[in-house]
């Protein structure tokens, strides 16, 4: 495939029609990305700093925004380790063993990708809301899940469920089973095999999966909006806080919160670039 690229590139240099197509393709690509992606992202910083650094910092330093940042960090601190554990376990079972129903399992893991985040929130309201299945029982026992922290955690868990697993399954399948089988036959235990043989070969993919899962967990909006109840300072995560401020026409405040989330996204992309530079990760189709 490297050859095909060089042939095409050579052809593009030598005839004028190819040269024209090349220029047009690059111009179309760059302007489309610019208009749809880059301009909105840059504008976030533009609006956040539109009245200077001092106003920006002051906008972040309100009690509600600080509470939102804390809530988001706490949610991610619970969700990301759980989904990582799940991702590693699922990938181990799927990549290292052959069993009936494997394809069904993979499809089910993918389910949250194609389900609307609003549905992801809705299901927990139907289970634990005031009129939900467990609603009366929860009320009698003075427990609250929906419109409280546990609901936010559950909805975020569901939405970010597939990320680590989807990142690890192809890598572990590519890696094969021989190394682990050799380790086991030489007398290594299961955990030793995993930590000394499997983990070193998947660590970059695992890192990207965890970082991506974290970015989605911190940035989840739709699912959390449904279960949060929007109680200021209590159940508004960072994306919800951005919405609250935006709805109150506090442009600097909304974009200041948004800028933090955007930096997180950029950081995620940088980690991805690093992971790819280390060559441990093959590009694969999304989803």
């Amino acid at each position: 495939m490297a050859q095909s690229t060089s042939v095409a590139a050579e052809k593009a240099r030598t005839d004028w029609a190819g040269q024209l197509i090349r220029a047009a393709a690059i111009i179309i690509s760059v302007s489309f990305l610019g208009l749809v992606l880059v301009v909105p992202v840059v504008s976030v910083l533009g609006y956040a700093f539109s009245r200077g650094l001092r106003v920006y910092l002051a906008a972040l330093h309100t009690p509600d925004t600080i509470a939102a940042i804390k809530l988001t960090l706490m949610t991610a601190a619970i969700v990301v380790p759980l989904n990582t554990l799940f991702g590693v376990a699922a990938a181990w079972a799927i990549a290292k063993f052959d069993f009936r129903g494997k394809q069904v399992l993979i499809t089910l893991i993918d389910l949250p990708f194609s389900v609307s985040p609003v549905i992801a929130g809705l299901v927990f309201v139907l289970l634990f809301g005031a009129q939900g299945w467990f609603g009366p029982w929860l009320r009698d026992n003075d427990l609250q899940i929906v419109y409280a922290f546990p609901g936010i955690v559950l909805a975020t868990l569901l939405v970010t469920f597939p990320y680590v697993a989807r990142e690890l399954i192809p890598i572990m399948q590519l890696h094969g089973r021989e190394a682990e089988e050799a380790a086991v036959s030489l007398g290594a235990g299961g955990w030793t095999t995993f930590f000394r043989v499997t983990l070193p070969s998947i660590r970059w993919g695992l890192l990207y999966g965890v970082i991506l899962c974290n970015a989605r967990a911190m940035g989840e909006f739709g699912a959390v909006a449904v279960v949060s109840g929007h109680i200021r300072g209590l159940t508004t995560t960072m994306p919800l806080q951005a919405q609250v401020l935006y709805d109150e026409y506090d442009v600097v405040g909304a974009f200041a919160v948004a800028s933090l989330l955007m930096l997180l996204a950029l950081l995620t992309l940088i980690v991805k670039a690093l992971v790819e530079a280390f060559g441990a990760r093959r590009r694969r189709p999304a989803g």
């Binding site: 050859q3 389910l111 299901v123 950029l266 189709p285």
Partner: protein, 281 residues
């Protein structure tokens, strides 16, 4: 340890029961039981009542807005996503790696961020919105804005699906076609496009599915006028806010069925792709 189980091939590796058990339990608790709760809640409605909610004029209008916009956005992404993937695979130019990295931004960018950013810069009083206004084009608070937001979030699905397929187009086939006198367009249409088509279809379906379910980036720019720019996910949220759980569950089931249909389509396309590859070799 390696107990004889009919449905699993024997292996010397340990941990099958532990990992599959944990993964299965977690999957059941977090995904399957909640989804089943939605289906059962909607199924508890009498059929005619379900039908009445699902085909209410306002709901029908919201399907039209949601599916129409998502379809248009997926088509735009299929065209431009293909051009971008082509550019990244075939040409070497200054800044190519940066362009390649930027593609993934919508995967990592929270939807609320892209939502408020798009709604702000395309609103009639600001930036791009004010540039478009003299031409009578209003993006924010119209269906154009909805399509724009859905295009943004769906783009990486097409590019990342098509890219590997384009890389695998065999140069030998292209050269053979050319040496037999095929023009540039013929080579593209007869050699490149057929190879890439299944991947393009996968990317299109993924982008479509994401667009249909999208909430965060759409609601800021949509204006949310009933019958005009109100998407189905928003209608579900509004039902919930009025404690109309049954209405929300019924609409939720409609959307869930669409999601299953999308998943089924993607699996079918994958099967088609595998058959084609196997058939060719």
């Amino acid at each position: 340890m390696a107990t004889a189980r009919g449905w699993v091939a024997p292996s010397v590796l340990p941990g099958f029961g532990l990992t599959l058990g944990f993964a299965g339990m977690f999957l059941t608790a977090i995904v399957l039981v909640p989804m089943a709760a939605l289906i059962m809640r909607a199924a508890s409605l009498p059929l005619e009542e379900f039908w009445r909610i699902a085909t209410d004029p306002r709901a029908l209008a919201s399907y039209r807005v949601t599916f129409g916009s998502a379809l248009l956005a997926a088509c735009i992404n299929a065209v431009f996503g293909f051009i971008i993937a082509w550019t990244l695979v075939r040409y070497r130019f200054y800044g190519r790696r940066l362009v390649d990295a930027i593609i993934d931004l919508p995967f990592a960018l929270p939807t609320a961020v892209s939502g408020i950013a798009l709604a702000t810069i395309y609103s009639p009083k600001r930036w791009i919105g004010s540039l478009l206004e003299p031409f009578g084009i209003q993006v924010a608070y119209t269906w154009i804005g909805i399509v724009l937001a859905m295009t943004l979030i769906g783009l990486p699905f097409v590019v990342r699906s098509v890219q590997p397929a384009l890389e695998e187009v065999d140069a030998a086939f292209e050269e053979a076609a050319e040496s037999l006198g095929a023009g540039r367009w013929t080579v593209f249409r007869r050699v490149i496009l057929p190879t890439v088509l299944p991947s393009l279809a996968t990317g299109f379906t993924l982008a479509l599915a994401r667009g249909i379910g999208e909430y965060g980036s759409v609601i800021f720019i949509a204006g949310n006028l009933p019958f005009k720019t109100e998407i189905t996910p928003l209608l579900i949220v509004m039902n919930l806010e009025q404690y109309n759980y049954l209405g929300a569950a019924a609409l939720g089931l409609v959307m869930l069925c669409v999601s299953f249909l999308m998943l089924f389509t993607i699996n079918a396309i994958n099967g088609w792709r595998i058959r084609r590859v196997v058939g060719r070799r």
